[in-house]
Amino acid sequence: MKPSLITDHPFGEAYAKRLGVSPWGGNLPGPKVEEWRFTPLRSLAKIAFAPATAKVDAIPNNVPLIAGAARLVLVNGTYRKDLSTVDLGKGVEVYQGKVSAKQGSSLVALNAAYAPQSLALHVTGVAKKVIHIISISAAGSEPAVAHPRINVTAENGSSVTLLESHVGLPGQTYFSNPVASIAVGEGATVRRYVSVDEDSEAFHLATSLVNVAAGGIFEGFHLGLGGALVRQEIRVALTGENAKVHLNGAYALGGASHHDFTTVMDHQVPNCASSQVFKGVVDGESHGVYQGRIHVARDAQKTDARQVHKALFLSRGPQIDCKPELEIYADDVQCAHGAATGEIDANHLFYLAARGIDPETARSLLVEGFLADAVNEINTETVRDLFGSAISAWLKKREVRA
């Protein structure tokens, strides 16, 4: 018997009821839940996903690699030591941990119920190597679901750079529901760069739960390049004074792709700073969503929180929804948000044309430049180059289609 996500998960309608979400689609958030208003899951709920069991014996060649990185491979959420680098270098250890549900949404609970084990990283010192986590989804002949779970604990004063690539085997229908929980200790630095480049039939609903302690620094960058339906939800709690968070992202969507960035920046204590730069380009019939909530608690005086989302339409077919939300209960804070959507500036195009650059090349250059503004926020050069190349490749594919 094939268990389906919709009917056979352990929570069922009772769980949905307790969470106050719609029971349709089992424990999936319904369209009446405000946070999911722009990302309906009807198409996902229609498919009966079986647990993924397909075999993968090598890292697919569409995964971009960087030299010198330690690789940790997950196939359908299961850690594959045989495909991974054994030596991660000093300052970081990997082990398989238990998965506990703890806080979070129904998707996090679903992950907790099904995740085989977590891939746990314990950062004890200054890790020099980039840790590259490659999460591969492989469905086989039937639609399949997998629940990768990543836990990162960075001890006080430690530092680590993580790169995550989420990919799937082409031409398959799968649903990846990854959850990452990241604890940044006092004075610790965690840099985490996530690339979601799923197949055009794929669903990917990722939740990241980040906690930053006093004096800790968290730098996150999320790239979204493909998938039928992708959501990257990042919830960051700044829980110790003088914590700093830079959370940035870029997306490039074509075809019928749907991509949703939902961020929650929760300033719980005074003297913290957070900044967000998200930029996207949309083409075809795609749909881009950015929802960014900044919450500043009553005691969180001297908070400096900034947020920008800008999107560029490459044609008239796509849709963009942008919803900044500022909830500020402290009175001595600096908070700013900006949002803009538009088309490529005709003055820019003419300037490039006046230098002999044909319109198609000019558009590519301008789009790359538009996104580079966000990509340049990445402080790790190898990753910055990698993501820049991934965007260039996306644009080249687009030219071929057009």
């Binding site: 003055n347 003419f350 650059i357 340049n376």
Partner: protein, 251 residues
């Protein structure tokens, strides 16, 4: 046959006629200055030749080496050898000056049937050209024109010109926003490009620029027409007497 022939050119913007019959011939090696009060069509003329959208040519011709320029798209005109140095160069965040220059240079090379320039040769070329213009080489790593001062922007325009080696260069109020030092640097750059097979059309409001870029011919443009043509002394006369008499004649 002149290098650039402008024949009885009429052009409108949003149905309003701005150019009312302009005829100019630029021979190879010549520098022509176009002077005139604000709002008389100087910028319209440069935009029409370069092919900016929003201008409708209602009558007349523009020929480059006998080829119909107006039938070409803006990028084709540039590859054919027309270069417009902008009055207000556009700031383009995220696109480095270097990437932009390389793309433009390769577009031209491809059009000429040449191979694309390789990365090392490109850097060497830029290094040499920036040195000639007294520009810091690091400037090419910055986003195109973003945060550049007025002088830096105009120098960047001249750098592009020296890289692309156009047949006809149109300088649209290149002196605006420049102090005297920057003006001198930019003019030196332009003068270094003067050659027997290249022509310049220098559009300016003030005579000052023409002390540095000395023209062969000066034309006074008023109310969409060339009201007078003379040598470089005409510019000095305009500086002393102003444009009033041409405006009165036109009215």
């Amino acid at each position: 046959m002149a290098l650039l022939e402008i024949k009885n050119l009429h052009a409108s913007v949003a149905g309003k006629e701005i150019l009312k019959g302009i005829t100019l011939n630029l021979e190879p090696g010549e520098v022509h200055a176009i002077m005139g009060p604000n709002g008389t069509g100087k910028s319209t003329l440069s935009n029409v030749i370069a092919g900016r959208d929003g201008y409708e040519v209602t009558k007349g011709q523009v020929l480059l080496d006998g080829e119909d320029v107006l039938a070409m798209a803006a990028d084709e005109r540039a590859r054919a050898g027309i270069f417009l140095a902008f009055q207000y160069p556009v700031e383009i965040p995220g696109v480095t000056t270097s990437a932009f220059l390389k793309t433009a240079l390769n577009a031209k090379r491809r059009a000429e049937g040449k191979k694309e320039i390789d990365a090392m040769d490109f850097l060497k070329l830029v290094k040499a050209k920036t040195a000639v213009l007294g520009m810091p080489y690091d400037m090419i790593k910055r986003a195109l024109n973003v945060g550049f001062s007025g002088g830096e922007k105009k120098r960047a325009e001249v750098l592009q010109m020296t890289m692309l080696e156009p047949r006809v260069a149109i300088l649209d109020e290149t002196d605006s926003g420049l102090d005297i030092d920057a003006l001198k640097v930019v003019s030196d750059g332009v003068n270094s490009l003067r050659s027997p097979d290249r022509a310049f059309l220098v559009i300016t409001h003030y005579q000052r620029l023409l002390d540095y870029i000395v023209p062969d011919h000066v034309h006074v443009l008023a109310n969409g027409r060339v009201m007078a043509t003379g040598g470089k002394e005409l510019a000095l006369e305009l500086e002393a007497e102003g444009y009033a008499k041409y405006l009165e004649t036109a009215a």
